[in-house]
């Protein structure tokens, strides 16, 4: 009768596998972000237009690009969880959401600290900044919806539907915001990072983008493991762990 409790292979295996992967991700993330940031801060040449303030892009651009990538990863695993009812996919999505929100917040703040010396103002209603702000709201909506449900199986399904609705809407929001800012914005203010970048600047940037990706992977694994434990509290193997670690 208690057979299914012992056929715990699935979550336990996911827990152990992510435990094995975690050190690799953590090591790679630390190394890449360390190299990229030091290279960017110390060795990369000065930009002749923006001076040293441009060194912010070595974290701003990775954060901005990863904020969207993290959303896509979250929505994909939410979709897998909804359609094929794979519970570890739901847990992975729940693990990614707060990380994505923090990364998006970092992208916004670093964007503002870059904007102040460049444009003389902390915030402009630039299309990219606005779209990033909306993305932050989407993340916050998903996180608080997930937190609002007592039953986390339902919470994952509800947040998953919202994440998928968000995926359909992100391109529409992005397009409309871009179109809107082209209407209202005088064309003098433009982020010109697309201009050909010398390779000495490009390498640290690419390293940092990769490093941010690894870092998100590592933190996701940490949270994923905690999520597995929290959702499987009634299984014997988790109880063993709890008895070993739990305090009196």
């Amino acid at each position: 009768m208690w057979k299914w409790l012992h056929s715990y292979a699935d979550p336990e295996r996911a827990y152990n596998l992510s435990g094995k992967l975690l050190p690799w991700f953590a090591m790679l993330a630390t190394a890449l972000v360390g190299i990229g940031s030091v290279w960017g801060l110390v060795f990369a040449p000065v930009d002749y237009q923006m001076g040293d303030s441009y060194r912010i892009i070595f974290i701003h651009v990775p954060a901005a690009s990863m904020s969207m990538a993290a959303y896509m990863a979250m929505a994909t695993s939410a979709f897998i969880g909804l359609v094929w009812q794979i519970k570890s996919a739901d847990w992975a999505a729940a693990a990614i959401a707060p990380i994505g929100a923090v990364i998006t917040l970092i992208a916004l703040i670093t964007g503002a600290t870059w904007g102040k010396p460049m444009w003389g103002t902390w915030w402009v209603w630039d299309a990219r900044l606005t779209a990033e702000l909306v993305l932050l709201f989407l993340y916050l909506g998903i996180i608080s919806l997930y937190a609002s449900f007592e039953d986390k199986v339902l919470a994952a399904r509800a947040a998953g539907i919202l994440a998928i609705v968000g995926v359909i809407n992100i391109p529409i929001i992005k397009y409309s915001v871009e179109w809107w800012s082209s209407l209202h914005q005088p064309s003098t203010i433009r982020i010109t990072e697309k201009s050909a970048m010398p390779t000495e600047m490009l390498y640290p940037l690419l390293i940092n983008i990769l490093g941010f990706g690894m870092m998100i992977g590592a933190i996701t694994l940490i949270r994923f493991r905690a999520e597995i434990l929290a959702r499987n509290g009634m299984r014997p193997w988790v109880r063993e762990l709890a008895k070993a670690e739990g305090v009196k």
Partner: protein
């Protein structure tokens, strides 16, 4: 005891019931409308009575107020049905769920969206909206408010089983409202400059068609989660 109700009949049965209930419960119609009017009248008090300033911000003010009023009234869309068990019966009826959901959203739009559209020109007068813009205002509201109802209903369906509704609901659906707001207000702006705005209307129309097709499925799936 044969079963012979067509989808169309089922749709109108539900639509009729919802309208009937609302008519016996008039507050549901008038409260959002009153909210809409009050918010709009607050703006001249906040930014000053200069006609130039007011006519500049009028499209945005009217649309933001309409958006908030729509969201506020939506909160009750499934609540009563959830509390008295009608929602479960709807989910278990042999009729297709997206169709039932569409009937409910349509009833809600007739009760709150249409009065809002009708009262908007009066508020536009108070805000000194440009004379050329009335057509655009009405057209964008007519095409845009159903989109608001459909998108908002997804958020409502997701939160109907939760105790804390309000703030969470606005966090969920206001980001989704942004495209409608942008295209509607810029259509009105364009019309005040005597520029063509049919392109804007076409985009809002496309959003309406898209949400008419996709939203009922999302709402249905959300309701199944909420009643679990």
């Amino acid at each position: 005891m044969k079963k012979g109700i067509s989808f169309r009949q089922a749709f109108f049965t539900l639509l009729k019931r919802d309208l009937q209930i609302a008519i016996r419960h008039k507050g549901d119609i008038f409260n959002p409308l009153l909210f809409f009017i009050l918010v709009v009248t607050l703006f001249p008090l906040g930014i000053g009575p200069e006609p130039q300033v007011l006519s500049r911000v009028a499209p945005g003010v009217i649309w933001v107020a309409a958006l908030l009023a729509s969201m506020l009234s939506l909160e009750r869309l499934f609540k009563a049905d959830f509390v008295d068990g009608s929602l479960e019966q709807m989910l278990l009826s042999p009729q297709p769920l997206p169709l039932m959901v569409l009937a409910k959203v349509l009833a809600h739009w007739i009760l709150t969206g249409v009065p809002l559209i009708l009262v908007a020109p009066l508020l536009a007068v108070l805000l000194h909206l440009d004379d050329n813009s009335y057509g655009a205002l009405m057209a964008t509201l007519a095409l845009g408010t159903p989109v608001l109802s459909l998108l908002g209903a997804i958020g409502v369906a997701l939160t109907v089983g939760l105790h804390k509704g309000g703030v969470l609901l606005s966090l969920l659906i206001l980001p989704l409202y942004i495209p409608v707001l942008i295209f509607a207000t810029s259509a009105i702006d364009a019309s005040s400059l005597n520029l063509p705005y049919s392109g804007h209307l076409a985009i809002i129309g496309a959003m309406l068609v898209g949400s008419l097709i996709l939203a009922p499925f999302a709402i249905g799936a959300s309701l199944r989660v909420s009643t679990n």
